[in-house]
């Protein structure tokens, strides 16, 4: 079976790859493109560790085929910091110790950025609901929620 040739945009950069029809976008990111920040937790859309954005929409990259990415704008955790400059969310996750083992962290950061892109001033409840599809087995979530709300506040004040 011949491979599918896909042209897409990832974190603003034009990207081309060849993939099998069965391969998910997560497979492509990790195994073909070396973008291993997106993690595979469950592979069934339950844990959110593979969260990316597609045309600005938050999705699980494990529930999307690599072939579907053609012509889309994909955003991954690798596009979050600008060079050495961490995104405010990343900085706040460090300050609040909002991560322990770290496996869920890239997905949560991508999901949290998507939240703040949609709603710069979310309530705690809105934040908890938005991030309900991102499972963390270490932190108990509270530090994550504090970090997101704190980053949102700083970003509002800076804008």
């Amino acid at each position: 079976m011949s491979k599918i040739h896909v042209t897409t945009t990832i974190n603003g950069d034009p990207v081309e790859y060849l993939c099998d029809a069965e391969e998910t976008l997560l497979d492509v990111l990790r195994d073909h493109l070396g973008l291993t920040g997106s993690k595979e937790g469950c592979g069934t859309g339950d844990c959110g560790a593979c969260s990316v954005t597609v045309d600005g929409r938050l999705v699980c990259s494990c529930l999307m085929l690599g072939a579907e990415a053609a012509g889309r704008e994909i955003g991954t955790i690798e596009g979050m910091a600008k060079g050495d400059q961490l995104h405010p969310l990343q900085q706040k996750f460090i300050e609040h110790a909002a991560l322990q083992c770290g496996i869920c962290t890239p997905g949560i950061l991508v999901a949290a950025k998507s939240l703040l892109d949609h709603n710069p001033d979310p309530s705690e409840e809105e934040t908890r609901y938005w991030l309900a599809g991102n499972l963390c087995r270490c932190t108990g979530y509270d530090k994550i929620i504090r970090a997101v709300l704190d980053a949102a506040k700083d970003m509002r004040e800076a804008s």
Partner: protein, 287 residues
């Protein structure tokens, strides 16, 4: 496996009917890709309908709304006019999964996955929704209630696929609501689901109603006897009690790890009452 991504309905029909092996239609993929991964589905080809522009649109049609089969739950939730007309349908769709799932999952996919516990299906049935199905013989419109025929089964023939769901125009003083019972607060499979859509006259008397239950039979069911308990009443406590009894009587659930038969029968009535109260309030009735 082959990946097909037609850009027109005609091309999709042609490709679908010319596949020799098992061809699965891919909309949001939140069920299909999970089934493929777990080995329950091993298609020879996948037909992605998301490149067909008209299937990605929410548009006015015959006074109601036509929602393309590739429209995500998130897109429905962001459509203020649609939410204003059919809040119950949209809330049912938006109950499905997480933010990430909402970014992909579609109402047509929820229908065609044909789970008896599908959240959007009772809401669509109560709303009187109609599925448009494309096949080699052209388009046909059939009530959403007739699409699922059993767990995981639909009335669609090979070579057919749902292109859109149509929601009728909402009459004046109408409201709809969907509620489900789950043991958690979010992201779970309905143990029972219930949708009510009703219309009141200027005096607050119910002139039309449709009541549908999910997860208490092999498919979501329309319960005419339940609607009859509301019509001609002001949806008062007496009517609500009769509604609850009618829904419990109509429930034919199985017992499984998520709930016993007795529990589901009881909860069907409780949810119907609560959904009717919300629908009545949305219709502008006195609470």
């Amino acid at each position: 496996m082959q990946y097909l991504s037609p850009t027109t309905i005609d091309d999709a029909i042609r490709l679908l009917s010319s596949q020799s092996g098992d061809c699965k239609v891919l909309a949001g993929g939140t069920d299909l890709l999970v089934r493929m991964r777990s080995g329950f589905a091993e298609p020879d080809s996948i037909l992605d309908i998301k490149r067909i522009d008209e299937l990605r649109r929410i548009s006015r049609d015959a006074g109601g709304w036509r929602i393309g089969a590739a429209v995500s739950g998130a897109e429905m939730g962001e459509h203020a006019d649609l939410v204003a007309d059919w809040p119950g349908v949209v809330e049912a769709v938006n109950l499905i999964g997480s933010t990430q799932i909402q970014g992909r999952a579609t109402m047509a996919g929820n229908l065609c996955n044909a789970s008896p516990a599908a959240d959007s299906v009772p809401a669509m049935i109560a709303a009187g929704a109609v599925a448009r199905i494309a096949g080699q013989d052209g388009l046909r419109d059939i009530p959403v209630a007739d699409v699922p025929t059993g767990p995981g089964k639909t009335c669609l023939s090979p070579g057919e696929f749902v292109t859109s769901i149509w929601l009728p125009s909402r009459p004046e003083r109408s409201g709809d609501a969907y509620l489900r019972f789950i043991p958690r607060t979010e992201m779970d499979i309905a143990v029972v689901g219930c949708a009510v859509a009703l219309t009141l006259d200027a005096g607050g008397t119910c002139t039309a109603a449709r009541v549908s239950l999910g997860a208490v039979a092999p498919t979501a069911i329309l319960v005419d006897a339940a609607a009859d308990t509301l019509i001609g009443t002001t949806v008062d406590d007496t009517a609500l009690d009769a509604l609850a009894r009618a829904c419990s009587d109509a429930a034919r659930p199985i017992a499984d790890k998520r709930g016993t038969v007795e529990f589901r029968v009881h909860v069907a009535g409780v949810l119907a009452k609560r959904a009717a109260i919300i629908a009545k309030t949305r219709a502008g009735g006195a609470s």
